[in-house]
Amino acid sequence: MEKISRYILVLVAILTFSIFLPDFYWKLFEKPNRSPFVLYSCIDKDFIIQQGRNRYDNKGNKLTRKEWEEKLPLLNMRQLMIYGLFPDSINGCIMDPHEIGLNKSFFRFKPKDMNTPQAHLFPLFESESGRVKIEMPQDFFRITKRMEFVDAKTNSVIKNKSRMFTAVLQKRGFAFPAKLIAGIPTTRKSCDEGYIVTDSKDQLFHIKMVKGHPYIQKVKVPKGLKFKYIACVDFRDKKYYCYLFSQKNEIYILTQDEYDLIKFPIKDFQPKKEELRIFGDLFNYNVIRLGENYTQVVALDKEYKKVAEYNKTWLSRAERKEGKVFSYIFPAQISMFNKYSDYINFYYAKTKGFNWIILNLLLVFGHFLILKRRKVIFKNHLIDFSIILITGIYGFLAVNLFQNKFFK
């Protein structure tokens, strides 16, 4: 029994060390690595790169800050206006600040947005209240076996409203329960467009409330197209409701009113591991994908057709000096946090390669010397040796903290 309890303690110690020691290491030795900020210039018809405080064009010419601002006039409109350098027209198009503002949009997605705990309870706003301000409703809805509205004050289901919405959903062919429910659950938006929802059969619906009544549209979706994430947007141009990521790693938008699904010419977007930023302006969309050690920027025109593409990779953390040293010390790392998820878990990451074997063998030998001094029977310590061989520094510390000292 006491031997079992020792192995449990050794296990706990290994777990603890494999969380803390690598963490200490990275905090001490990791060097920052900024990814480049790349945008398509409507002046150059090419990409402009900003890396830290240095700015270049795509041919490698260094740019001053002012030059950089001039090459991206739509992004830096206000600054250029102060300088008096804002052009009257670009590409034969007369510059109207109102028009420019209307076409400006910014969207940002992080893998964490998909991997986050969320209670599936949302406020359904009144879309046409006739008031300037959007008001927070008194109730929240869920879509399980039916659509239910729960009144917050009494914590009870509002029967009539629930029945009404459920009936209309059924009529439109909604298969309960909902899989994805996406909306903008805040009163701080220009107007309310309700929620984009997928049902259990992966059908797509638009649900909102107009003057207290359900407005529910089923969206025509090509056969086989399934979505794994939907992000609603509130842009001033009112061109589309949301971005949708498909199971096949494509990016779609859903246009307003016509409910057309338009596919972006982006290949194999990995929402679990890549950040996505979309800058929209009068002429282009810059679709920026950011992975751990690469970025891809695709410039689209206003018809969502690809204009140009920029790719860059750099050394990942594991490939840099501090990562290589790491690989000689630690056989693996466990973290409670993950940059791709809001969930806490024991995230296990094995160190690539087998450099750590050297240290592990040294530690096995070191343990052998320690035991030799203690004059013990080696046969009783074979499990400890294998623990050190596998877990290296963690196991070495653990078996020596919880000493294998048992009597016959």
């Binding site: 029994m1 006491e2 079992i4 309890s5 020792r6 449990i8 303690l9 296990l11 706990v12 110690a13 777990l15 603890t16 060390f17 969380i19 803390f20 986050t116 705990p117 969320q118 209670a119 599936h120 309870l121 949302f122 406020p123 927070m136 409703p137 008194q138 109730d139 929240f140 869920r142 729960v150 917050a152 004050k153 914590n155 659950p185 805040t186 409670m336 946090f337 809001d342 969930y343 806490i344 878990n345 024991f346 903290l401 919880f402 000292k405 048992f406 009597f407």
Partner: protein, 222 residues
């Protein structure tokens, strides 16, 4: 015979246990007095909104209480045993030593479990009065690791108290103070969902850790 051991453990921890249960009870009551106050002053829907989308933890007040209770019960139960090495008396009783220890730590774990279950079920039923089950569910997921942390701390403090060698007491304290924070990471509400079961299993496993240091005590390590 077993009744006698339970009787002895009960004598040691009864006031701490009753006190801890009351303390937790007071805090849980305070949480819901706050909830009631918030609903009265800023409308229930705003409070729901904060909880659902701003990840406000209306129960955050009790976070470290189970930890304190776990440490307190362990101290109440095991410190009297090592004062004047009194645990020798227990080892000398005509009972297998490990069975005796398992009985002791079983009692401690069970009393913690009972204390936590009482308070936790009060918390859940009050939550159900005010909030939809989605909110209650997330709250439960968030509180479970805090409770498990209290139970794990109980086991590891027992290990430290019983360890006969001071240097190792300190080593174990270091490992414990690195390990216990794993139950109290600053995650958002519901973040512990994928790991709660693993933590529960680990907590269950370390509940026997006392056997190790007690063995070292019995064999006269010094």
């Amino acid at each position: 015979m077993w009744k006698s051991i339970i009787f002895k453990e009960w004598l040691k921890v009864r006031w701490y246990l009753i006190g801890a249960t009351l303390l937790l009870g007071v805090f849980v009551s305070y949480i819901f007095i706050n909830v009631k106050h918030d609903i009265t002053f800023q409308d229930a829907n705003n409070l729901w909104y904060l909880i659902l989308f701003k990840k406000y933890q209306f129960f955050g007040l009790i976070k470290y209480l189970p930890l304190l209770v776990g440490i307190g019960i362990a101290a109440a139960q095991y410190v009297p045993e090592i004062v004047s090495k009194r645990v020798k008396l227990s080892f000398h009783l005509p009972v297998n030593e490990n069975k005796m220890l398992l009985m002791m730590l079983g009692f401690g774990n069970l009393s913690l479990l009972i204390c936590f279950s009482i308070v936790f079920s009060i918390f859940i039923s009050l939550s159900n009065c005010f909030f939809a089950y989605e909110i209650v569910n997330e709250a439960i997921i968030t509180i479970i690791p805090w409770l498990l942390g209290g139970i794990a701390a109980y086991s590891l403090v027992g290990l430290i108290v019983m360890e006969p060698i001071w240097m190792y007491k300190i080593f174990y304290l270091v490992v414990t103070s690195m390990f216990i924070p794993l139950y109290y990471e600053r995650g958002i509400t519901g973040a512990y969902k994928p790991v709660n079961l693993t933590l529960a299993i680990i907590t269950l496993l370390i509940s026997v850790s006392l056997l190790f240091s007690a063995y070292r005590f019995r064999k006269g390590e010094m």
